[in-house]
């Protein structure tokens, strides 16, 4: 049984409390759109639309992807958060950290060897 955190739900409902943002979601339900497209359709400035999309994105309702100079907005994947999928993403996060940490450890080891040699001289 999946449960949703209260903060997460609050963010989602706050995002949905605005008519423009509900309209944006409806629009994205019909197809992906750039922020420029959305701004035109809703008669908003680019900055204004970016803010709305930012709120929707933070609530997890919209995903954006930047290709070249265009940021495309789309609805998020329609699937439940499976624990296993989350744990795999969590593992990947740590793995990418550790790949970097390997480099730091290697560098410190080298440095110790060099310093050790100097001291012996």
């Amino acid at each position: 049984m999946v449960q949703y955190s209260r903060a997460r739900l609050d963010a989602s409902f706050a995002a949905l409390s605005d008519a423009t943002r509900r309209g944006v979601l409806e629009q994205l339900g019909r197809g992906d759109a750039s922020i420029t497209d959305l701004a035109e359709k809703f008669h908003l400035t680019l900055t204004g639309m970016k803010k709305h999309v930012g709120v929707l994105e933070q609530a997890g309702l919209v995903r954006t992807e930047k290709i070249g100079r265009v940021r495309t907005c789309k609805l998020g994947p329609r699937r439940l958060h499976e624990e296993t999928a989350w744990i795999e993403r969590y593992r990947q996060l740590w793995e990418s950290r550790f790949d970097e940490l390997d480099k730091v450890v290697e560098e410190l080891k080298q440095k110790e060897m060099v310093d050790g040699r100097k001291k012996r001289k």
Partner: protein, 174 residues
């Protein structure tokens, strides 16, 4: 990614394991090719820590990193991601600092539902086994963290809530 692999051969990578070991616990393990003294240093010196904690592949950047690594000392990490207008802060307090073997800190940005993280460093010959153990205050807190999609401030954390879209579909469709 593949191009880099070709140009600079990397030594064999050690496996990272992740497991939910109970209703309230997550455990991550990894072995490093170096002594505990060095691995511990990379976790406790901010100028080293910031080099690996936020890998570039995540699209995040670390705006600031303050760590007062001693019992009762605090830390505060501030990240930014292109997609979000506001920076995100992660902060807490060190509960235990035992050189070269053990670190314990709180994760306070999540309020009462935040986990307590214990990291142990166990030297085995020339290698060090690192075990990261997150203990959540309740099953609901860990379930909540998983449901929120948050893996610690990364972009994947903001994914979709199927139920909400269903509710939304019903409301905007009318």
């Amino acid at each position: 990614m593949d191009a880099r692999r070709e140009s600079e051969p990397t030594p064999m990578k050690n496996a990272t394991t992740t497991e939910r070991t109970s209703d309230r616990e997550l455990v991550v393990t990894r072995t490093f090719n170096g002594p505990a003294r060095i691995v511990f240093e990379a976790w406790t010196r901010p100028e080293l820590f910031k080099r690996w904690w936020v890998p570039k592949s995540t699209g995040m950047s670390l705006l600031s990193c303050e760590m007062d690594v001693r019992v009762g000392g605090t830390y505060r990490l501030v990240f930014r991601h292109d997609a979000f207008p506001e920076p995100m802060a992660f902060f807490g307090r060190y509960l235990e600092v035992t050189p070269h073997s053990r670190l314990v800190w709180t994760n306070d940005e999540g309020g009462e539902d935040g986990a307590v993280t214990t990291v142990t460093f166990e030297q085995r010959g020339a290698e060090t086994l690192v075990v990261i153990h997150d203990l959540y205050p309740s099953k609901e807190a860990l379930d909540g963290a998983i449901a929120s999609g948050s893996t610690g401030g990364f972009s994947e954390q903001f994914e979709q809530l199927d139920e909400l879209l269903v509710i939304l579909g019903a409301s905007v469709g009318s």
